[in-house]
Symmetry: C2
Subunit: 202 residues, 2 copies
DNA sequence: AGCCTAACCGGACTTGAGTCCGCTTGTCTA
DNA sequence: TAGACAAGCGGACTCAAGTCCGGTTAGGCT
């Protein structure tokens, strides 16, 4: 499937040339700021200044700080999403629900470990921000489908995603748990909750 | 057991008279502001002004906004904590771990439903605030003890508490789930995770 | 090519959390 | 009762997110 096509599907209303240029500049500037000074250096003012645009532009383009950071993570998220839709089992279609769920959480924890600070920033920038990020809805739907055989898939999917909340996992690391222990705990939890799956899944 | 004694145990270094008076004034003012204008009216500046103290005093007394709000909730939390330590089973000691855990989450969801806005405010005032609130450590230890028969009680207790995070449940309500559905989902999740318990618990 | 307008731009402004530090006061001791 | 000093006080200050609005411009249309 064509990258360009996917991109178009994702952003239907075409953007004016200057707007697109500023989006790119902002993302580059934000990435640079983060690379150089970590999460603390990544303020909206600094990103706007470094990109040579006004602050208002950032908010028009990305909604809020959380949206700017989410856009930075977009590429990696998209890779995971595509692996889920089009990839090989067990992450992609074809494996039993339980295996797919386990594969998803394993992959997601890899993503989280690689980008914990940014994910945390985008999830905690404002109350409820986590649930407004586009990707959250995707993960949620995916899991709800995998839990279709359980009583309340919608709710259960939210609870499952709670296990990989960035703020929680940052705290677990701070308390000295390592990623191995986190992985094991999440796996066993997912296993218990998704439970014995029907032989095949969508 | 004597209330005063409990209080002393909880706050060993005695407070200067003016400090105690200002604490009371601040809590009263904050409660009033919240009662009148909801969560939006409850800013640190407003509370300080209404209490007739300086802003610095609020931060010295309560650490941050999250701490001020947590102090407002302290009374209700303490009731629940005492019921867990000294109360009747299944909430108090004597019932099997699974029943105690279920009773805890049922009681906690009642508390959460009554005070959702305040709990959410105190949990989301800053990244990681949730885990710094004194009560969180209490709930966590309680659950970890109840999960002692499972592989990683410490981690599991954190994941269980994730199901009652205020921000998540506020979102669930916003999406149209009711408390009944939330209760049922949490109960079935806790049941699956705490699992068949050893016959008695501490 | 020239016009029209919706979209975009940017930076000053508002708001609220959290810090700082010189001044004040409660409390303990003699 | 008086003196010493740790604890407490408060409000001006800093810092960052998010809003607003008058001016500008890309790009479609004629």
């Amino acid at each position: 499937m064509n990258d360009e096509l996917l991109q178009v599907l994702r952003r239907p209303p075409q953007e004016r040339a200057d707007a697109a240029r500023n989006r790119t500049r902002l993302l580059e500037a934000a990435a640079r700021l983060f690379a150089e000074g970590g999460v603390e250096a990544l303020t909206v003012d600094a990103a706007a200044r470094a990109a040579g645009v006004g602050k208002g532009t950032v908010f028009r383009r990305f909604g809020d700080k959380s949206g700017l950071v989410a856009a930075l993570l977009d590429q990696r998220e998209r890779e995971l999403q595509e692996a889920i839709i089009f990839g090989e089992p067990p992450l992609g279609p074809g494996a039993p629900a339980r295996e797919r769920a386990l594969a998803f959480f394993d992959a997601y924890l890899g993503y989280l470990a690689d980008h914990l600070d940014l994910v945390r920033l985008s999830e905690t920038a404002a109350p409820g921000a986590r649930f407004r990020i586009g990707a959250y809805a995707f993960w949620h739907r995916h899991l709800a489908i995998l839990c279709a055989h359980r009583p309340d898939p919608d709710h259960l999917a939210h609870l499952l995603l709670g296990t990989v909340a960035a703020d929680l996992n940052a705290e677990l690391l701070r308390q000295g748990l390592g990623w191995d222990r986190i992985r094991a705990g999440v796996a066993s939890t997912v296993d218990a909750l998704v439970g014995p799956s029907s032989p095949e899944a969508p």
